[in-house]
C-alpha cells in the first residue's frame, strides 16, 4: 500500500500567464468569481461566467480532464442538490406527480441552475489550486491577511503553520508507511475485516504516529529557534511579491466581468 501516492494539493506545473500571476491577485480574483456565481440570476447570465472561466482555462493550458477531476469527490453532493431541487420545488407548471412528489417546470429549472452553479464553483476554485503552488498560496494569504494582524488576526502564525504542514505531510506519510509495514510484519491486518476490526487495527498505527509527530514537532521547534526564529516581527522575506502588467490586466478583466454580471441582473433580456 503506497501511502505516498496520495497527491498533495493538486498543483499542475506550468509556465502559463495564469501560473505566473501574483498569488494574491489569483486569490482575490477567484473570490470575486465565486461571489459572481451567486449574483447571477439567470441561465443566460451564466454564459458570462462560462466565458470568463473558459478563457482562464484556455490561458492556463491545463487539460480539461484535470480540471474536471475536481468534481469527482463532490459529484454526489451535486447530484443530491439537484435531486432535492427537482423533487421539492413545488411552484410552476406540474409535469408529473408521484404520490407526495411533484416534478414541476420550476423544479427542473432550479435543479439545472444549482447544478451548473456548483460545477462552475468547483472548476473555479480548483483552477486556482491547479495553477498556484501551495506555498505561494500560503504566502499570498499571509500578505492579504497581514492588515488584519492589527485587529489580532495571527496572519503570520497561520501562514507558518500552513508552511510547516505542507513541509511535513510527506514526512508523516512516510512515517505512516513505515509504521504500517512494521505492524504488518508483527501480524497486524489493515486490509481485511469488518469496519469495526479495521478501526481497531488503526490504533497500533495511530499511537506510534502521534508519538513520532510530537518528536518531530519538538525537534523542529528547537531547530527553528536555533535559526533565530522569533515570530513575525522584524522578519523579512526573500520573495518580494510585486504586481506586474499581467496582474493589472487580470484585475481589470475581473472588475469588468463583475460589472457585467451585476448589470445582467438589471437587463431582462439576459
Amino acid at each position: 500500500m503506497a501511502v505516498r501516492d496520495i497527491t498533495l494539493g493538486q498543483y499542475f506545473p506550468g509556465e502559463s500567464c495564469i501560473h505566473r500571476l501574483d498569488p494574491r491577485v489569483k486569490i482575490v480574483c477567484t473570490f470575486v468569481y465565486l461571489i459572481s456565481l451567486f449574483v447571477v440570476k439567470s441561465f443566460s447570465a451564466f454564459l458570462l461566467c462560462i466565458l470568463f472561466l473558459g478563457t482562464v482555462i484556455a490561458l492556463s493550458k491545463i487539460p480539461f480532464k484535470f480540471i474536471s477531476k475536481g468534481l469527482k469527490p463532490v459529484i454526489f453532493l451535486i447530484i443530491l442538490t439537484m435531486v432535492i431541487n427537482l423533487f421539492f420545488v413545488s411552484t410552476g407548471d406540474v409535469l408529473a406527480k408521484l404520490g407526495p412528489i411533484t416534478i414541476t417546470k420550476d423544479g427542473i429549472y432550479r435543479a439545472l441552475f444549482m447544478g451548473l452553479r456548483l460545477v462552475l464553483l468547483i472548476f473555479g476554485s480548483s483552477l486556482m489550486t491547479l495553477t498556484t503552488k501551495p506555498i505561494e498560496l500560503t504566502d499570498g494569504m499571509e500578505k492579504l491577511l497581514s492588515p488584519l494582524a492589527k485587529i489580532g488576526l495571527p496572519a503570520h502564525e497561520l501562514a507558518m503553520m500552513m508552511t510547516i504542514a505542507l513541509r511535513f505531510i510527506p514526512t508523516l506519510l512516510d512515517e505512516t508507511d513505515k509504521i504500517m509495514k512494521a505492524q504488518t510484519a508483527r501480524g497486524a491486518d489493515f486490509e481485511n475485516g469488518s469496519i469495526k476490526e479495521k478501526a481497531k487495527a488503526l490504533i497500533p498505527l495511530l499511537v506510534p504516529l502521534f508519538v513520532s509527530a510530537f518528536r518531530i514537532a519538538g525537534d523542529l521547534a528547537m531547530a527553528m529557534e536555533a535559526r533565530c526564529y522569533h515570530g513575525g516581527s522584524g522578519r523579512t522575506r526573500m520573495h518580494q511579491m510585486k504586481l506586474g502588467k499581467g496582474d493589472a490586466v487580470a484585475i481589470a478583466v475581473t472588475v469588468i466581468y463583475l460589472a457585467l454580471v451585476i448589470l445582467s441582473r438589471q437587463l431582462p433580456l439576459l
Binding site: 503552488k133 501551495p134 506555498i135 508552511t163 510547516i164 505542507l166 513541509r167 510527506p170 514526512t171 512516510d174 518528536r215 518531530i216 525537534d219 523542529l220 528547537m222 531547530a223 527553528m224 529557534e225 536555533a226 535559526r227 533565530c228 526564529y229 522569533h230 522584524g234 522578519r235 523579512t236 522575506r237 526573500m238 520573495h239 518580494q240
Partner: protein, 285 residues
C-alpha cells in the same frame, strides 16, 4: 590570536529537571562542571558515549539551553542576559546543525528553507537571495533549489540544513552528530563541507561518534558523565589508553601495527590521508 575565544564555558552545570524546593543531586546533572574555551577559527571535535552530555553541551553554545549554574559567553556575550532580550544575537553568531536532517527543514521548497534563517534576522531581500544562492552553491545543491526536501536523500537534506546555517553567515557552526543518520557517501560529503567551512576561517565544533571524523579536528574533547574526560590534540588523545568504548580511527590502529613491525610512524599521524602521505614518502625515500 592566542586567546581570542569564540565560546567560553565557565564551570557550567545543567540539570534537565529541577526540583522546586531542593537543588538537584549531582547525579541529575547532564552537564556537571564543564569549563573550557573554544578559540576563534579552531576546529574542535567533541566525542563521548551516548548520554554523556554532548548534545546538552552543544545546546548551551547557542543559548538553546541556559546553564543551571556557571556561565557561557559567546563572543563575550553572556547567554543568560542576552536571552532575556534578544537570543538571536547569539544564534546568528553560532549556527547549529542537528542530527536528523528531516526534522530541521521548515519549508517545502529548498531555497525557501535556506532563506528561513536570514529572513528571521531581517536581512534585505536582495541580500538574502545572494546568500541563499551562494550557500546552496557551496554545499553543491544549487541545482536542487526548487525541489521539495522530501525528494532528496538524507545526505542532501543535511547539506540543505548546512546551507541554511551558512546563509546566516555565523562565525561558528556547531554540528551535533550531523552524519549519524547518513550512508558513507553522505558522510564524506558532509565532512568535506565541514572542512571547507573551517578553511574559510569559521570556528567549527563537531560532535561525532566516528573517531575518523574527530581525527580531522585540531583538538578533541572527550565527554563522560557530563564532565570533560580528556582534552588535547588528536595525537595526544589517541595515545591515551583510557578511551574505553571509543574505537580508535583506522589510521591510528594501522600506525600502531606498523610500529610493532618496525616501521617508525610518527605519533601525529591520525587520519587516513596523513598515513597514506607518510607511507608514500617512505616509499620514495
Amino acid at each position: 590570536m592566542a586567546s581570542d575565544p569564540m565560546i567560553q564555558l565557565k564551570d557550567v552545570r545543567f540539570a534537565y529537571e529541577q526540583g522546586e524546593d531542593d537543588t538537584p543531586q549531582a547525579a541529575e546533572f547532564a552537564i556537571d562542571g564543564v569549563s573550557f574555551n573554544i578559540e576563534k577559527g579552531s576546529f574542535v571535535a567533541i566525542v563521548g558515549s551516548n548520554g554523556s552530555g554532548k548534545s546538552t553541551l552543544a545546546k548551551h553554545m547557542n543559548a538553546l539551553l541556559l546553564p543551571t549554574s556557571g556561565e557561557v559567553l559567546v563572543d563575550d556575550l553572556n547567554t543568560v542576559t542576552e536571552s532575556q532580550t534578544q537570543p538571536w544575537e547569539i544564534r546568528k553568531r553560532v549556527g547549529m546543525v542537528f542530527q536528523n536532517p528531516d526534522n530541521q527543514l521548515v519549508s517545502s521548497v529548498v531555497e525557501d528553507d535556506v532563506a528561513f534563517g536570514p529572513e528571521n534576522i531581517g536581512i534585505e531581500p536582495s541580500e538574502i537571495r545572494r546568500r541563499v544562492d551562494e550557500s546552496l552553491q557551496m554545499v553543491g545543491m544549487y541545482e536542487h533549489r526548487k525541489k521539495g526536501p522530501h525528494l532528496l536523500s538524507g545526505g542532501q537534506k543535511q547539506r540543505i540544513a548546512i546551507a541554511g546555517v551558512i546563509a546566516m553567515d555565523p562565525e561558528c557552526v556547531v554540528f551535533d552528530e550531523p552524519t549519524a543518520m547518513l550512508d558513507p557517501k553522505g558522510r564524506r560529503e558532509i565532512m568535506s563541507i565541514i572542512r571547507k567551512l573551517h578553511s574559510q576561517g569559521r570556528t567549527v565544533v563537531l560532535i561525532t561518534h566516528f573517531m575518523e571524523e574527530a581525527a580531522e579536528a585540531d583538538r578533541i574533547i572527550i565527554m563522560e558523565h557530563g564532565k570533560v574526560h580528556a582534552d588535547g590534540t588528536p595525537a595526544q588523545i589517541f595515545s591515551r589508553d583510557d578511551l574505553g568504548v571509543l574505537a580508535l580511527p583506522f589510521a591510528v590502529k594501522m600506525a600502531k601495527r606498523l610500529r610493532q613491525s618496525g616501521i617508525d610512524v610518527p605519533a601525529d599521524i591520525v587520519t587516513d590521508e596523513q598515513l597514506a602521505d607518510f607511507l608514500c614518502s617512505k616509499e620514495q625515500g
